[in-house]
């Protein structure tokens, strides 16, 4: 696997880990934004190879984890209304207020697990007498494909297709975390794939406003240790810069075609984040011109606010205030098979990553 095996190389990784040990003189808290990075850190056992002084804080970049509870309820409501509901895989096990999409499927709902929203448009074409909805969640990474599905439907004159959108954006979330009074973060590893779409321009203001190092980082072990090394080096030298570790994928101005597609269909608006609350201008909403593809507008879905499980500390986990194993319910009443909150569901969720892979979990 070219471009993968090189980044999982023992010697190369060890060399950088040794450097990290050499240059680290004091305690630093680094937040990796993306759940994919959390997953890789834990799965590859990187956390225990780092100096004790370095504490990795797991960020909110898990789309499954931050999708609001009431949106899952809405998806279930649509499914129960007879809509063909299409979703990415790990969304279907997330508990809503009463049940998950998977449970709703077992009760007779027509739920399809897809890898691409474009396939949902094909399903709509094949089933002209049924309504087809794609559960369009995710960060900037999945937005282009979701927007493209709307443009495809428009081009083909398909009127029985819409999306239930809950798109969130990384920079406003970082700002909300930095503004939190309990924030202890010294540097960020920015999410490589989000930057592959959006470029890195929008991170400069954060670096200067908060005087904090941000290193755009990839997902393989070598990427991650390199990103951590670059952060620590800046911190130890008293600098704050935006650096791009993932330059083989991430370009300064991102993917122009993808950004154009996003901007055609979506505009920036307020979004609710599960566990965090509403953050101003932190997500994409469907533009007026494409509102007929917005499932929330198209169907009269009830908008009931439902409370989260009181014993779940997902909000604190997602803001990096607590670690998964510091939760009283972790691994006891809350397990992947019976999760209390979303971070225990997706393999990108910090709780699930700790549960599945972490050797911290001794009992």
């Amino acid at each position: 696997m070219k471009y993968l095996s090189e980044y999982r190389n023992l010697e190369a990784t060890k060399k950088i880990l040794d450097e990290i040990h050499k240059i680290t003189t004091r305690e630093w808290n680094i937040m990796e934004i993306c759940g994919g990075q959390t997953h890789s850190l834990v799965k590859n056992g990187i956390l225990e190879l780092l100096p004790e002084k370095i504490r990795m804080i797991h960020g909110p970049g898990c789309p499954v984890c931050v999708t609001p509870l009431n949106l899952i309820d809405k998806a279930i409501e649509l499914l129960e209304k007879g809509v063909i509901m299409c979703s990415f895989g790990d969304m279907i096990r997330v508990p809503g207020s009463k049940k998950s999409l998977l449970e709703a499927k077992a009760l007779g709902g027509d739920l399809r697990i897809l890898y691409s929203p474009i396939e949902a448009v094909s399903i709509a074409k094949e089933n002209p007498n049924k309504e087809v909805v794609f559960f369009a969640v995710g960060f900037e990474t999945t937005a282009p494909a979701n927007a493209l599905s709307v443009l495809h439907a428009e081009k083909e004159g398909i009127s029985n297709y819409s999306i239930l959108a809950s798109h969130v954006l990384v920079p406003p979330a970082m700002e909300a975390i930095l503004d939190d009074q309990f924030c202890t973060i010294d540097a960020f590893l920015a999410a490589g794939h989000v930057c592959a779409i959006m470029g890195i321009q929008e991170y400069y203001p954060l670096v200067f406003k908060y005087k904090i190092p941000i290193v755009v980082t990839g997902f393989e072990p070598l990427d991650l240790v390199q990103g951590i090394y670059m952060s620590i080096k800046q911190l130890e030298e008293g600098q704050y810069k935006l650096e791009n570790q993932y330059s083989r994928i991430v370009k300064e101005f991102g993917n122009k075609a993808a950004i154009e597609v996003i901007q055609k269909v979506f505009e920036v608006g307020n979004r609710e984040w599960r566990g965090i609350g509403e953050i101003p201008n932190s997500g994409y909403v469907i533009k007026e011109a494409y509102r007929k593809y917005d499932a929330e507008t198209k169907f009269n879905i009830s908008n009931i606010k439902v409370p989260e499980n009181a014993s779940c500390i997902a909000g604190e986990i997602l803001r990096g205030i607590k670690k998964p194993h510091e939760c009283n319910e972790f691994g006891k009443t809350c397990k992947p098979a019976n999760p209390l909150g979303a971070p225990m569901v997706s393999s990108e969720g910090a709780c699930a990553a700790y549960y599945h892979f972490s050797t911290h979990l001794t009992d």
């Binding site: 190389n9 834990v42 190879l49 895989g89 969640v137 995710g138 072990p221 997706s346 990108e348 972490s358």
Partner: protein, 341 residues
Amino acid sequence: MNIENIGFETINLGHGSGGELTRNLLDNIIFKTFSNPFLDQKHDGAIVKIDGEMAISTDSFVITPIFFKGGNIGELAIHGTVNDVAMCGAIPKYVSLAFIIEEGLKISEFIKIVESIKKAADESGVLIITGDTKVVERGKGDKIFINTTGFGEVHPKANISVHNIKEGDKILVNGYIAQHGMAIMSEREGLEFESTIESDSTNLNFLVKDLLDAFGEKIKLFRDPTRGGLGTVLHEIANDISKGVFLKEVDIPLEKQVAAACEMLGLDPMYVANEGVFLVVVDPSIENEVLALMKNHKKGKNTAMIGKITTEHPNKVVMQSLIGGKRIVSPLVGEQLPRIC
């Protein structure tokens, strides 16, 4: 086989009625294909002889799609059950065969499946001795479901039990993992991708017999990691014996194309299903001889020593990653779901 003898192109409810249509289907396809002295008794059941202790295993096959690269549901129904009997340290002898067919299945497809069953049974050295055919209404099944039960004579030198496993015992696996699951995945609706990955579905009973002939009770355990994959089975073993399993990721045999497909779909090969893979836990004194014997056998060319039993981290499977870190291999929860990004 001549479809014209059946008089129909598709299976209908009448073929499961027990009447003339059923007889027609059985005589022209089932009895003709599987004819042997036990089946030819045409009794309500079969009367067979078996020496010594008997191992019995049953399994139902509901796979979709029913035809896939490297096999079909028919041969899978034989390999799966033959292998389960073999994993008990037994020599599989007889298999029962029951179909639940959804009306509308093409007779030509049914014949193809039956012929695969026959070929797989012959290659595995087992006889089909009794069976059943039911037909359900359209929408009440998924083309065809098959149940098989296997009967085998326990090998006289076998002493297979998870409780014989001791600290220091070695774990070997006979070849590339995750082939079957990824072959099926590549043909699932909505997930199709082009690859030449084939299912590894095969019978393992002769390799198992050779191992027992050569090493007897120094073989502690056989286990085939089908659904749930290698990770789930190793976790079960660790839990059963309250000891730990230690693995090195670099030693796990994984074919490049399968590894790439897993990466692309966001799946962990440790939890992907296998149908021609088994692991062997052996006394450390024979690990090299076992490795040599298995590598010399056509069903074990890619055998690898993947790990050992340890008293550290009881009930846990710990894997050293490619970069030297450690992680827990936990059991699979539900189906493995592809990630969003």
